[in-house]
C-alpha cells in the first residue's frame, strides 16, 4: 500500500470538497478498494471515507419507492429492506459476512463490477441513483464494465428503488470468487417487467429485452421457452465459456420468474 492522506468528513458537502483534491478517491466499505491498494494497483493521493456521513444512512419508504442511503452496508439492507424482500434477500447473499458488514450499496454501484449483484437489482428495479449533484436513472447510469455516469468526485448519497409487484434474484456463483458467474434479477412492475443480467456480459450489467417482452405478455416460465440469448458478447473465461454463460442467463431467468410468481 502506498501512502495517502485520509479524511473522514461528516457531511456530503465536506466530502465533495475533500474529493476535489487531485487523485482523491472516495472510500465506501473498501471491499474492492482496500485489496486493490494492498496490491499496489492504485495510488490515490487521498482517501475520503464516506462512512461518517449521517445523511447517507437509513432506509425509508417514499410512496411506492424504497430509498436506501448510499452508505448502508449490505447487512444493513438485508436487515432493513423488508419492504422490498427480493432486494433484502439479494443483499443477504452478497459475498461473505465480512463483505456484507463493510461493503456498501453506494460503493458497489459506483464500482460497477461486471459481476456484482447490486447493479442487476438497480437496473431491474428502475432505480434512481441520487448523487450530491443530480438524479440518474439506472438505465442511464450503467455504462459498461466498471464504468458509470458518475462524474469525478460525484457521490451516491442514496438509491431510490421502485418496489415491484413481484421480484426475484437468482445467482449462479463462480466457484472461486463466488461472485455471480451469471445473476438475473427479474422485477414485475405495474408498467412492465424488467430483466437485468449481471456477471455475463463484456458490457457489464444489461437488460434482456426479449425476455422482458415475452414476460410482459405472460409472466410465467413458459413465456421464456425457446428464448435464447446471443453468446457473442458474453464473457468467456476460466469458469465459463460464452455459450455456457448465455445458457445460464436463460436458466437463471426462468428460476427467477418461477420464484417470483
Amino acid at each position: 500500500m502506498y501512502n495517502f492522506e485520509f479524511e473522514k468528513p461528516s457531511s456530503v458537502e465536506d466530502a465533495v470538497a475533500a474529493l476535489a483534491a487531485d487523485d482523491a478517491q472516495a472510500l465506501g466499505g473498501g471491499q474492492t478498494l482496500i485489496p486493490t491498494l494492498k496490491q499496489r494497483l492504485a495510488s490515490p493521493s487521498k482517501l475520503v471515507s464516506l462512512s461518517g456521513i449521517a445523511e447517507m444512512l437509513g432506509v425509508r419508504s417514499e410512496g411506492s419507492a424504497l430509498v436506501i442511503g448510499g452508505g448502508m452496508t449490505h447487512a444493513d439492507v438485508a436487515a432493513q429492506a423488508a419492504a422490498y424482500p427480493a432486494l433484502a434477500e439479494m443483499a443477504a447473499h452478497i459475498g461473505d459476512p465480512a463483505v456484507r458488514n463493510r461493503g456498501t450499496i453506494g460503493g458497489s454501484l459506483a464500482n460497477n463490477d461486471p459481476s456484482a449483484d447490486y447493479p442487476a437489482a438497480a437496473l431491474a428495479s428502475a432505480a434512481v441513483i441520487v448523487t450530491n449533484a443530480r438524479e440518474i436513472a439506472a438505465d442511464d447510469y450503467f455504462q459498461g464494465m466498471f464504468d458509470t455516469a458518475l462524474d469525478e468526485g460525484e457521490i451516491i448519497t442514496r438509491v431510490k428503488f421502485a418496489v415491484p409487484q413481484a421480484a426475484n434474484y437468482q445467482k449462479f456463483v463462480q466457484p472461486a470468487s463466488r461472485f455471480a458467474l451469471v445473476g438475473v434479477f427479474v422485477a414485475k412492475h405495474a408498467d412492465g417487467v424488467r430483466v437485468a443480467v449481471t456477471g455475463a456480459s463484456e458490457q457489464g450489467v444489461f437488460r434482456w429485452g426479449e425476455a422482458e417482452a415475452a414476460l410482459n405478455k405472460e409472466f410465467r416460465i413458459d413465456a421464456l421457452m425457446g428464448l435464447k440469448i446471443n453468446p457473442m458478447n458474453m464473457i468467456g473465461d476460466l469458469h465459463g465459456t460464452k455459450e455456457y454463460r448465455a445458457h445460464l442467463v436463460g436458466v437463471m431467468t426462468k428460476r427467477a420468474v418461477a420464484a417470483a410468481v
Partner: protein, 787 residues
C-alpha cells in the same frame, strides 16, 4: 467400551488449545531484534533473457540495506534435487542448474530476479519498484507434448531437450505387455489429465535467517515439514555450512500438504543474506507469491490401457504419462511420477503384467512436486477410472469386476517392484457397501429424479505405499537421502518424559498421539509426556513428515527408544527390588517382581536413575535417556474402498456431493479421532481436485488462476458429511505398532469415486459420456451433457 487413554483412545488434541486460542508460535510470529525485511522481485514473464538489472536508484532509496542479484551468489551452489532418476536406457536424468536468483534467464512467472533487503517491508517494496529490469521476452513453452516435440523452445539452453527423463517400470516387461494386449479379449483405453493443483496451506511460507557473528553460527527459522533435511540440503549443497554450524527450526507450521517438504531458494537466501549484512533477514510470502513460488502438484497427462481376458480377468495394464516438472527440479519432483507412482499401478488387483512409461518434461511453469498423495493419487485415479469404464463397456457391475480381480493372498509381489505385506480388500469393500448403504441407492436415485436431478454412484478402491521408506531400497532407486527416522526419549528424574522426534507435526497431531503410545507402553498418564520436534538443535536427526510416515516410521523409532528405556528401567527396578531383571514386569507404571507383591513405582525408578544412591553403578550408567533409529523394512500399504453419490443439476451442470463414504484399512489405530480428521481432510482435498481446483496457465505462461478469486478451494458447503470407517484392520507386519499411515489416503482415494459418480449420473440420463477431465466444473459437466 472405548478407552480413555493409551492406544485406541481419542483424547482431544492438546495442541489445538494453543492453535485455536491464538497462542501458536508460527514462523511469522518470530521477530528478531534488528531484523531486516526481504522483498523478492519476481518475474512477470514466463521466459526471458536478462539483459540488465539496474539497482542504483533502488539502492539509494530510504531504508534499503542491500539489494541482491544472481551476481551475489557466484560460487554458491544451486538448489539441489533429492532424487536422481535413471531412465529406460540406463542414463541419468537431465538436471539443470537451479540458482537461488534467476541467472541469465527467467524461466517461469514468479521466479525471483532480485531481492531488496530493507529496514521495513514497505521500504523494500518501494525500492523493488525502482529496480530497472531489461529482460528480452522469449517464447514460452507450456504444453508438455509441445515441449518434447522437435524444434521446441528450450527451457534450459544447456540441456539437450526439455525431456528430463524417459523412465519405465519394468522395461523388461514391455514386450510381454504388448503381447498381452494383442491376446486380450477386451481392451479399454482412456486418455486423461490429472489437473495441476496449488496446495495453499493456510500459513504461507516464511523464512528468517539469523547469523551469530561471535560463534559463526547460522540459524534458519522456516515453515518446513523436515528441518533436518533442509539443514542437510542447504548446508551441504547450497551454502557450504557444516551441519554443526547451522540450526534449522520449523516451529508450529500451519499446514504443509507436501509443498513445505522442499528446500526453497528463499530459505537459502535469508540464511545467506543474514550473514552478508550481519542482521536477521525475514521474508513472509504473500498469498500471491505463494501461487507462483510454492511447488505445485499433480499435472500429469496420461493414456492408460487395460487388457482383459474373456472371463474379465485383468491381464495387463500399460500407461504412458507426461509429467510436468515445471522450469526447475524441486526436491522430490523426480521421484513423484516414478517411484511414488509407477509402483502403485497394480492397485488392489492381481494384474500379472504392467508397463509404466513416464516422460518428465521441463516447461516454463512453477516447479511441480509432491502434493498430498504425491504420485499415488495419479496412479489410483487413472486405474480406477479405466476399470470403471471397462465395467461399463463389458456390461458388468463395477464392484463385481473389482472384486473378481482383487489380490487375496499376502504377501503379494506385484509386477511393479513392491511387495504388499498385508490387506483384505474384500473386507473393506464389504464394509463400504454397508456404510454407504449401496443397496438403497436405487431409491435415492428415484427420489433425485423426482426433483429433476441426475443421481450417480461412483465406487473405487485404492492402495498406497507409504511409511516412506526403506533406505537401502530408495538408495538403489536414486534417492540422495536415507528415509529412516530417529527418536530420543529423555526421562527426567521425576518421571516425566520428553520425546525428541525427527517427525514433524504441521497439523497431524503428533503431540497428542505419540504420547498415547508411550503411555500405553509404560502405563503412565499421557500428560507426563512431552513431544519436541522441529528443531535441529533439540532433535538429534530427522527425516521429517511426508508420505504418511510419522507414526509408521517416526513412531516406530520412538517405540524402539522407549523399549530401550524400559529395559534399562527394569534393571534399575530389579536392583531396587533385589530381584533378577528377567523377573520384572511393568504394568500401569509399576515395576513388580513376577509372582510376588513386591513392586516399585515408575517415578521411584526414574529418581534412582538420576540420584543413584542405591544403584548398580558398577553395571549400569546413571541416567535414563535413549536414542533409536528405525529404518522400515518395507513400505506400508494402506488400502480402502470409497463411494461417492452425487446429484447433477442438468440445467446448470452443477455437481452436489450428497454422500461420501470411506472404508479404510490403516492397520492398527492409535487415535481414531485423529484418523477420522486426517481422512476428512484428505477427502476434502480430493473433492477439491475433482470438482473445483485448477491451476491454469495461458499459452504464454501467465498464471490465470493466480489468486483465490480464480483458484477455487473447497469450502465447507462444497463438502458433505462423511461416513468414515476404519474398523477393517490388517496390521502392518513389519513395524512394531502394526500401523500403516492415514494422512494421504483421503486425497488418494476420493477423486476417482467423484468422477465415476458424475459419469454415472450423466449416463443415467442416457448421455454417452465416457469421461470428463477434472475439475468437473459446472461448465464442463454441462458441456458433457449437451455435447
Amino acid at each position: 467400551m472405548p478407552k480413555d487413554s493409551g492406544i485406541g483412545a481419542s483424547p482431544k488434541r492438546r495442541e489445538d488449545v494453543r492453535f485455536l486460542t491464538g497462542n501458536g508460535n508460527y514462523t511469522d510470529d518470530i521477530n528478531i531484534h534488528g531484523q531486516a525485511y526481504a522483498h523478492f522481485l519476481r518475474s512477470d514473464l514466463a521466459h526471458g533473457r536478462i539483459k540488465s538489472i539496474g539497482t542504483d536508484a533502488a539502492a539509494a532509496m530510504p531504508g534499503v540495506v542491500r539489494i541482491f542479484t544472481a551476481a551475489d551468489f557466484e560460487g554458491v551452489g544451486g538448489i539441489p534435487c533429492g532424487w536422481q532418476i535413471t531412465d529406460r536406457q540406463g542414463n541419468v536424468m537431465q538436471e539443470p542448474k537451479h540458482p537461488i536468483l534467476a541467472d541469465g534467464k527467467v524461466r517461469h512467472v514468479g521466479e525471483a530476479i532480485a531481492v531488496v533487503v530493507a529496514d521495513s517491508l514497505e521500504q523494500a517494496r518501494d525500492a523493488a519498484e525502482a529496480i530497472e529490469l531489461d529482460i528480452e521476452e522469449l517464447p514460452a513453452v507450456i504444453d508438455m507434448k509441445a515441449a518434447v516435440a522437435d524444434g521446441s523452445v528450450k527451457v534450459h539452453d544447456d540441456l539437450t531437450s526439455n525431456l528430463c527423463y524417459d523412465w519405465s517400470l519394468v522395461e523388461e516387461n514391455r514386450e510381454a505387455v504388448e503381447q498381452a494386449f494383442q491376446d486380450a479379449a477386451h481392451v479399454t483405453t482412456l486418455e486423461l489429465v490429472n489437473n495441476r493443483l496449488v496446495a495453499n496451506p493456510m500459513e504461507p511460507r516464511v523464512a528468517i535467517g539469523q547469523y551469530d557473528r561471535s560463534a559463526n553460527d547460522s540459524t534458519l527459522y522456516t515453515t518446513s515439514q523436515n528441518p533436518h533435511l533442509i539443514r542437510l540440503l542447504m548446508g551441504a549443497f547450497v551454502l557450504g555450512i557444516p551441519e554443526h554450524k547451522l540450526r534449522v527450526v520449523a516451529p508450529d507450521v500451519g499446514g504443509g500438504f507436501g509443498t513445505k517438504i522442499f528446500h526453497y531458494a528463499e530459505e537459502a537466501f535469508c540464511t545467506f543474506a543474514a550473514k552478508a549484512i550481519n542482521r536477521a533477514v525475514k521474508w513472509t510470502s504473500s498469498r500471491s507469491e505463494a501461487f507462483m513460488s510454492d511447488a505445485h502438484g499433480r499435472d500429469h497427462v496420461t493414456k492408460i490401457e487395460l487388457a482383459l481376458d474373456a472371463d474379465n480377468n485383468f491381464t495387463a495394464v500399460r500407461t504412458d504419462t507426461y509429467a510436468n516438472m515445471g522450469a526447475y527440479l524441486s526436491t522430490f519432483s523426480t521421484a513423484v511420477p516414478t517411484w511414488l507412482h509407477g509402483i502403485l499401478m497394480a492397485g488392489n488387483y492381481k494384474t500379472p503384467l504392467i508397463y509404466v512409461n513416464v516422460k518428465a518434461v521441463f516447461t516454463n511453469t512453477v516447479p511441480v512436486d509432491a502434493y498430498r498423495g504425491a504420485g499415488r493419487p495419479e496412479a489410483t485415479y487413472q486405474l480406477e477410472r479405466v476399470i470403471d469404464i471397462a465395467a461399463r463397456e463389458l456390461g458388468v457391475d463395477p464392484i463385481a469386476l473389482r472384486r473378481q480381480n482383487f489380490i487375496t493372498e499376502f504377501p503379494y509381489a506385484t509386477p511393479v517392484a513392491v511387495e504388499y505385506d498385508t490387506g483384505d480388500y474384500h473386507a473393506t469393500m464389504d464394509k463400504l457397501e454397508e456404510i454407504a448403504d449401496l443397496s438403497g441407492f436405487a431409491d435415492r436415485r428415484a427420489e433425485s429424479e423426482k426433483n429433476g436431478k441426475l443421481r450417480g454412484l461412483g465406487v473405487n478402491c485404492y492402495i498406497e505405499a507409504c511409511g516412506i521408506a526403506p533406505s537401502n531400497l530408495v538408495g538403489q532407486l536414486g534417492a540422495r537421502a536415507g528415509l529412516y527416522e530417529s527418536a530420543t526419549v529423555r526421562v527426567n528424574a521425576t518421571g516425566g518424559l520428553v520425546v525428541m522426534t525427527g517427525s514433524h507435526s504441521h497439523g497431524q497431531g503428533h503431540e497428542t498421539s505419540f504420547p498415547q503410545v508411550i503411555a500405553e507402553m509404560i502405563g503412565i498418564d499421557e500428560s507426563m509426556i512431552e513431544i519436541v520436534h522441529g528443531d535441529t538443535a533439540k532433535v538429534p536427526m530427522g527425516m521429517g513428515t511426508y508420505g504418511s510416515r510419522s507414526l509408521a516410521v517416526g513412531g516406530s523409532a520412538m517405540v524402539k527408544a522407549t523399549e530401550k528405556i524400559i529395559a534399562k528401567a527394569k534393571k534399575i527396578a530389579a536392583h531396587l527390588l533385589e530381584a533378577s531383571d528377567a523377573d520384572i514386569e511393568l504394568k500401569d507404571g509399576q515395576f513388580s517382581v513376577a509372582g510376588t507383591d513386591k513392586s516399585v513405582a515408575w517415578g521411584e525408578v526414574t529418581l534412582a536413575a538420576y540420584v543413584p544412591h542405591n544403584y548398580p553403578l558398577e553395571d549400569l550408567e546413571p541416567g535414563l535417556e535413549e536414542t533409536a533409529f528405525y529404518d522400515p523394512a518395507n513400505f506400508t500399504y494402506p488400502s480402502g474402498a470409497y463411494a461417492c453419490e452425487v446429484e447433477v443439476d442438468p440445467d446448470t451442470g452443477k455437481v452436489s456431493i450428497e454422500r461420501f463414504s470411506a472404508a479404510d484399512d490403516f492397520g492398527n489405530i492409535v487415535n481414531p479421532m485423529i484418523v477420522d480428521g486426517q481422512v476428512h481432510g484428505g477427502i476434502g482435498q480430493g473433492i477439491g481436485q475433482a470438482l473445483l481446483e485448477a491451476c491454469v496457465y495461458d499459452e504464454n505462461g501467465q498464471l490465470l488462476s493466480a489468486s483465490f478469486m480464480d483458484y477455487a478451494m473447497p469450502r465447507a458447503d462444497d463438502l458433505p458429511f462423511y461416513a468414515v470407517d476404519h474398523s477393517c484392520q490388517t496390521p502392518c507386519t513389519h513395524n512394531p505398532l502394526g500401523v500403516k499411515g492415514c494422512g494421504e489416503a483421503g486425497a488418494i482415494g476420493s477423486p476417482p469415486s467423484v468422477v465415476n459418480a458424475v459419469v454415472d449420473a450423466l449416463q443415467s440420463a442416457g448421455r454417452d459420456v465416457i469421461h470428463i477431465d477434472m475439475p468437473l466444473s459446472p461448465n464442463r459437466v454441462w458441456a458433457a451433457l449437451n455435447g
